[in-house]
């Protein structure tokens, strides 16, 4: 268990955070300027909070009241920074072994071969960081942090500088590494898709404070949280498997849970796992079964719950997988929706954002 409380006053901003990490990964979601990097630097020991306390499994690393401040190099927290920040004058191998060679007072639990295999970076070992692609550099940065045998992994927007397509090729490596090495992780990002894919427990940081924490399905119902997520992009993130590619029809068939969606043709073979995202305000709900209609996805389901988010209503629907649908109060009233009401959900095939391969077939 990792417990963090920290207060820090900066020139134009005040961070006041209390957050507890169980053994599993926790994502901190927040728009830029929310204090995410400040929080992470405080935990890493690179920035001293005005007051607070940081402990891991009962060992106190920082306590302003008791005058304890363990320096960064003795905290044993592996940081995966934005842009990788590999040492440009050292080869990939030297970068990877930088922390490994400096592990002191703890057993080395992670070895180079294993990391190279899991992250598929074995062929890069003798190259210099300047010759790596953004995705390769990020995998090496993760490997470097892992090889320091950390007690906690800290991710500071690790994919922010990687462009869209590539992002979805690296994310699986991050997930795989976290689960393979079974490490607690604190993952900060402003990308809803990233945080929801990485962690089931999400803390929302806004204006220097944690405004909500819990599973996505619960916190998204809070008006403030919904607003932040919506401003940053999508709010339904789904993991699916490609069933078939049908170029003659112009779409691919992807199953998510018990549901099957037709989406714009994907660049992945049948059997591949892909990520799908869709905005809650691009989904249509109908009380009756529509007649002939061009919309390719017409799925029957039931209303699973509601939430009032300011001027809008969030409807949780179950169509074999769970989706969030955004409706106006007027629409929700006219449709006479209640929990358990039978509905049809309409989604155009091209409304889905497709996040390439999560794992090859």
């Amino acid at each position: 268990m990792i417990e963090i409380t920290a207060r820090k006053r900066l020139a134009d901003f005040h961070l006041d955070v209390e957050i507890n990490l169980p053994g599993e990964p926790v994502a901190v979601f927040g728009p830029s300027g929310a204090g995410k990097s400040t929080l992470l630097n405080i935990v890493a020991g690179l920035l001293r909070p005005d007051s607070g306390r940081i402990s891991i499994d009962g060992e106190v690393l920082f306590d302003s009241a008791a005058g304890i401040d363990t320096p960064a190099e003795r905290r044993g927290f592996g940081l995966v920074p934005q842009e990788g920040l590999l040492f440009p004058h050292r080869t990939v191998r030297e970068n990877l072994l930088y922390g490994y060679r400096r592990v002191r007072g703890r057993p080395r639990t992670i070895e180079l071969n294993e990391v190279a295999e899991v992250l598929e970076i074995g062929s890069l070992l003798d190259r210099y960081p300047a010759t790596l692609s953004g995705g390769e550099a990020q995998r090496v940065a993760l490997g470097r942090a892992l090889l320091a045998s950390p007690r906690l992994l800290l991710f500071d927007e690790p994919l922010a500088s990687v462009d869209g397509r590539l992002k979805w090729r690296i994310l699986p490596y991050l997930k795989l590494a976290i689960s393979h090495f079974n490490l607690p992780a604190l993952y900060v990002s402003h990308d809803p898709t990233e945080v929801t894919s990485i962690a089931s427990h999400i803390a929302v940081l806004h204006g220097g404070r944690i405004v909500a924490a819990g599973p996505y399905r619960e916190i998204i119902d809070l008006p403030e949280v919904y607003g932040i997520f919506t401003r940053e992009g999508v709010n339904n993130v789904l993991a699916g498997t490609v069933d078939a590619n049908l170029p003659e029809y112009g779409y691919s068939v992807v199953s998510v849970g018990e549901a099957t969606f037709k989406v714009a043709l994907v660049d992945a073979p049948p059997g591949a796992e892909i990520g799908l995202a869709i905005r809650a305000n691009e989904i249509i709900i109908s009380r009756g079964q529509p007649g002939k209609i061009s919309t390719r996805n017409v799925l029957r389901g039931r209303v699973a719950g509601f939430a009032n988010v300011g001027s809008l209503i969030l409807v949780h629907v179950d169509i074999g997988c769970e989706l969030i649908v955004e409706l106006t109060h007027g629409a929700a009233t006219e449709l006479l929706l209640a929990e358990g009401t039978e509905i049809w959900v309409l989604i155009k095939s091209n409304a889905f954002q497709i996040h390439s391969t999560l794992r090859p077939a």
Partner: protein, 227 residues
């Protein structure tokens, strides 16, 4: 061809500039590193002290050094009485004068190269288990090395040209403290010395421009490597 006595200022200049540069590099690195830290107490004082030789007339700096290091001075007197060792009017005096005058230039160049090292790399190093000293030697210093080398060459070139402070502290003794600029000065003031002056002038230009060009090349290479 010129005889050995006429080559003497060239060898002496080399010796003086080389030793002076060698001795100012470590303190220049230390001061430059301090000045490259964003939160430094007493920055104004350190910066003023370091930069002073750059703005003071060299002859004044030389005189201050003479007051301090001459036989009658606080440090010079002590060195003479306990070790029987003199700085003033020896080639070591010439090296001290050259070193003091070149110091601010080297500090400036090295400070710039420290400031160009991404501070976040140092943070990454710390989280990977490296102490601040370890981080300095394994990340900061290697990344700043081309700039430090370029700054040193710049300092070396400055040492070669030092005149005002040298003539006051070390005098103008042929074969002992007469470096190239002093020899040129003497030659110009000697009837029939034009040929000697011309020879030293060519050597001097070649050395200084050579050091400057190498220094510039190093800076450019560093800039290219980072992009």
């Amino acid at each position: 061809m010129l005889n050995a006595a006429e080559w003497a200022p060239v060898f002496l200049s080399f010796q003086v500039a080389f030793i002076a540069t060698l001795f100012i590099i470590p303190p220049a690195i230390a001061v430059a590193w301090l000045l490259s830290r964003p939160r430094l107490r007493g920055r104004l004082l350190i910066e003023t002290l370091v930069t002073a030789p750059l703005v003071l007339p060299p002859i004044i700096t030389g005189y201050l050094l003479l007051l301090l290091l001459g036989r009658g001075g606080l440090v010079g007197g002590w060195l003479h009485s306990t070790l029987g060792f003199d700085i003033a009017f020896t080639w070591i005096g010439a090296a001290v004068a050259a070193g003091v005058l070149a110091f601010p230039l080297v500090v400036r160049a090295v400070q710039l190269s420290f400031e160009s090292v991404d501070r976040r790399l140092e943070g990454a190093s710390r989280t990977l288990g490296a102490s601040p000293w370890d981080t300095f030697f394994s990340v900061t210093l290697p990344l700043a090395a081309p700039g430090i080398l370029a700054g040193s060459l710049l300092g070396f070139a400055r040492c070669l040209g030092e005149f005002g402070a040298t003539i006051v502290l070390a005098g103008n003794i042929p074969g002992q403290t007469q470096t190239i600029p002093l020899a040129v000065y003497s030659a110009i003031n000697t009837p029939g010395g034009e040929q000697k002056a011309m020879f030293l002038l060519v050597i001097s230009i070649a050395l200084s421009i050579g050091a400057l060009v190498i220094s510039q090349l190093l800076t450019r290479k560093k800039r290219r490597a980072r992009t």
